[in-house]
Symmetry: C2
Subunit: 492 residues, 2 copies
């Protein structure tokens, strides 16, 4: 492929940008901070959506759709939430354009179309949704409400990166309403488990499940649960969050229900979301200097068959066999591409499908046919094997699970290698600055200390792990007592 190769080891950030561009995943648009998700990138996102949607429905949720716009007076009702997002809000102030009298052929905003009340383009939908739930909930019989929405949201960002941080992004946001605190917390945790399950068993990305410190909590939440993954540069990426919102939104929007016992009480809430940011994680965890590496469960194409031939007769023979193999693999539920373009040589095609991360490549030529074999190459390990044609299909079908599991194991081993215990400030600095990984360290539990560590090292508390071992120790910075280690890392 005619593209500029950048090595991970040389410039990780440029490697990422180049890969996203060259593998045809996404690109910057003419709108500052907004991206175009290209068909190949979108096909991976669709696979993610389908699986997540299935998991949401299996846990009892339904999809619905709420407005893109939030009137300012609703937006500001839950004050912490409003304050948290106020600085990144795109605001609609007018609803009409007109011809610009000074510039024929150009348009201008019609000053007579100023809205009485400005509309915020949703950065998240708690406000508009809880204003709606208010009318849906009178009694405990109306609860729980278990709704998810697939939507676009806008958070104005100055420094953007494709998939990781964009002004507009695609996501899903679950918004649930419950009669009791316990039920709402159970829902919050359940959805965290769904996200972890998806990350580990579909994306093949091991994650730490935890709770955010107060500093990193979602604006308006009582508790934010998260899953955190480790990228190949040792940095953390927050891959999904599930918020226990307490009664904050119910109070802000006055949403009460009558309990079985006839008492009026505010409703308990959760919200949870993952976004196209997951694309960034998927790319950064598995890919290599040759390009994308995709876990089979999220690959739009599982197998590519590349014919090797010199004459039209050879191509005809090889094609016949290739199409037979394709059909047989499709019966195993695999998506197979037969790349019979006559405008490119096999070597070019090999590189292109490597760049695009197709898990398995089958090369098939006349000599293979003579020997009744095919060459099977794995994208993840770059190993090649010669496989007898009569066992090719079950072999390749079986490889899908193998690759899926191997990718997870590799990422888990990498993370284990890059996760260190820091027992004092020197060790902490060494991990964050030199070893570049996760520092498991004691912390005194104050936002002040967290803030100081951030200023000094750029590392933040990614989470307090749910499975934190009770262990008495001393805060790496202040020496004050602590009951367990939390995860510090630089993060995206």
């Amino acid at each position: 492929m005619a593209f500029e190769k950048v090595k991970r080891s040389e410039n990780y950030s440029e490697w990422y940008n180049n890969l996203v561009k060259n593998a045809d995943l996404a690109e910057h648009s003419a709108v500052k901070g907004c991206m175009v998700i290209k068909p190949y990138g979108y096909a991976i996102w669709e696979k993610m959506q389908q699986q997540l949607d299935r998991m949401f429905k299996e846990t009892g949720h339904s999809n619905a759709y709420f407005p893109l716009f939030v009137p300012k007076s609703l937006f500001e009702k839950e004050e912490k939430n409003a304050e948290g997002f106020a600085k990144e809000c795109a605001v609609v102030t007018h609803y009409r354009l007109k011809n610009d009298p000074d510039h024929p052929g150009k348009l201008m905003v019609d000053p007579n179309s100023k809205l009485e009340e400005e509309l915020i383009v949703r950065p998240t939908s708690e406000a508009i949704i809880w204003n709606t739930y208010k009318n849906w909930i009178q009694s405990y019989r109306d609860l729980p409400i278990l709704i998810n929405q697939w939507a676009n949201v806008v958070r104005w960002e100055m420094r953007t990166r494709l998939f990781l941080r964009t002004a507009e992004f695609l996501w899903q946001e679950g918004h649930t309403a419950h009669a009791t605190k316990e039920e709402a917390i159970a829902e919050t945790v359940q959805m965290l488990e769904v996200y972890a399950d998806f990350a580990e068993n579909h994306m093949a990305v091991p994650v730490i499940k935890g709770v955010k410190s107060e500093n990193e909590r979602f604006a308006g939440a009582d508790d934010t649960y998260c899953i955190e993954g480790m990228m190949q540069d040792g940095k953390a990426l927050q891959m999904g969050t599930s918020h226990f919102l307490g009664q904050n939104f119910a109070k802000a929007f006055d949403v009460k229900f009558q309990s079985k016992e006839g008492k009026l009480d505010f409703v308990w809430a959760t919200s949870w979301g993952v976004s196209t940011r997951l694309m960034g994680a998927l790319i950064m965890v598995h890919s290599d200097d040759e390009g994308l590496v995709l876990p089979p469960k999220l690959a739009p194409i599982h197998v590519v068959i590349v014919p090797v031939y010199k004459s039209d007769e050879e191509l005809a023979k090889v094609s016949e066999k290739a199409l037979e193999i394709k059909k047989a693999l499709e019966l195993h539920g695999l998506t197979v591409k037969f790349d019979c373009r006559d405008t490119y040589k096999p070597g070019f095609k090999f590189a292109e499908w490597e760049l695009k991360g197709v898990p398995v490549r089958i090369a098939l030529g006349p000599r293979d046919l003579d020997n009744q074999t095919a060459e099977v190459a794995r994208r993840d390990t770059k190993t090649k094997e010669t496989i007898a044609l009569d066992s090719l299909v079950p072999h390749v079908a079986g490889l899908m699970d193998t690759i899926q599991n191997d990718l997870f194991a590799k990422a888990a081993a990498f993370r284990a290698d890059k996760t260190f215990e820091a027992n004092n400030w020197e060790e902490f600095l060494d991990i964050i600055n030199n070893k570049e990984g996760f520092a498991m360290a004691h912390w005194d539990g104050t936002g002040e200390t967290e803030e100081k560590i951030k200023e000094m090292t750029k590392a933040t508390i990614r989470c307090i792990p749910l499975d934190m071992k009770q262990e008495s120790g001393n805060c790496v910075l202040t020496g004050k007592p602590s009951v367990g280690r939390v995860v510090f890392a630089k993060a995206y």
Copy 2:
């Protein structure tokens, strides 16, 4: 059900609004002109999406995603398109809120966050997409580009109606680029056929395929093809459009390609879309005074089983059988709801599921078990039959096709009854004002006459049918010569 029933015959428009509300499909939101699509309504929309998406992919299209915002300077480039949408554009002018010093706890738009260039919330995406395609297309080898996008769009409307006309709506928009005019026209027609296939074979709504007159053409198109359905009040609803855009957008955005022969030429374009408006058509064509009637192919629930019992023992017995039936029906690919709520009587449940349009209801009580039968009720015809248990499952499974076909046939017969030939102005007026249906009439082909007829009768030319019979005649208004009849009707 405790809701206000309105009869179609008494007030069609109120009947529609009530039905949308009472069947839990959608409701108005706090944002003027924007709707909330509720879970049951969204489930129907998801069924539509899934089927359409399948059809788009089968015809070679891929999904992608382009930004929500269009910078004004891009938006105005294709002048006709810009002019057509200018009056209904939501405009983002600022990107930040701040605390309002005069109103503690309230926010205000930060005047320092004014954008240098205003952003239009997309009313349609030709501009942003063709500005992107410009970078994707150099040679004929880059063509065709066959892309679809599922998205929300905003067209500011003063008078809105749930699903039919809302400021924000959900839709898909296909945007394709081609090397030749012929290929682009073929694509335009192909997608019209896909829409007609979907409308007739999935929505069970017969449609007329045709071309719009110049007055009704999409702003920026050389030709707009459409499918038009007839609602139960005899009015027309435009259900989908497919536009041949010529080279208009290629010229506006300077998108040229090198042909096989080495010549530079502008690219040819199409765009095509259907929206949540289809929900309005689906509701209006089939439903009755009892509520929604859904064609099985788009029903979120195909069969509801309602137990009839007096004691817990009876319920246990009936439940066992009901769950057995449910499982067997699910093996036929049907979605089955067993409504075992003990808080409602069977009669209430019957009415609720009728309101929600579930195609088939099975009622099962102890006496049925004794007789080895069940009562099967069709929603569309409201007929009930007693069916032997051992033939129940194949009978109900078979009913799905029957109901699907009967709904189409009924709608087609209704349309035939309400379609009239108008051979002079008196007949024309009688059809439009009294008979309330489609008037097939000769027209002199001028926009002027069309405009006059619209002013006088509110009827517009819905389309010039693709299968128009060549027949010489005289324009109903001007008496000037005409070569065939076009479809006039009042429209949504």
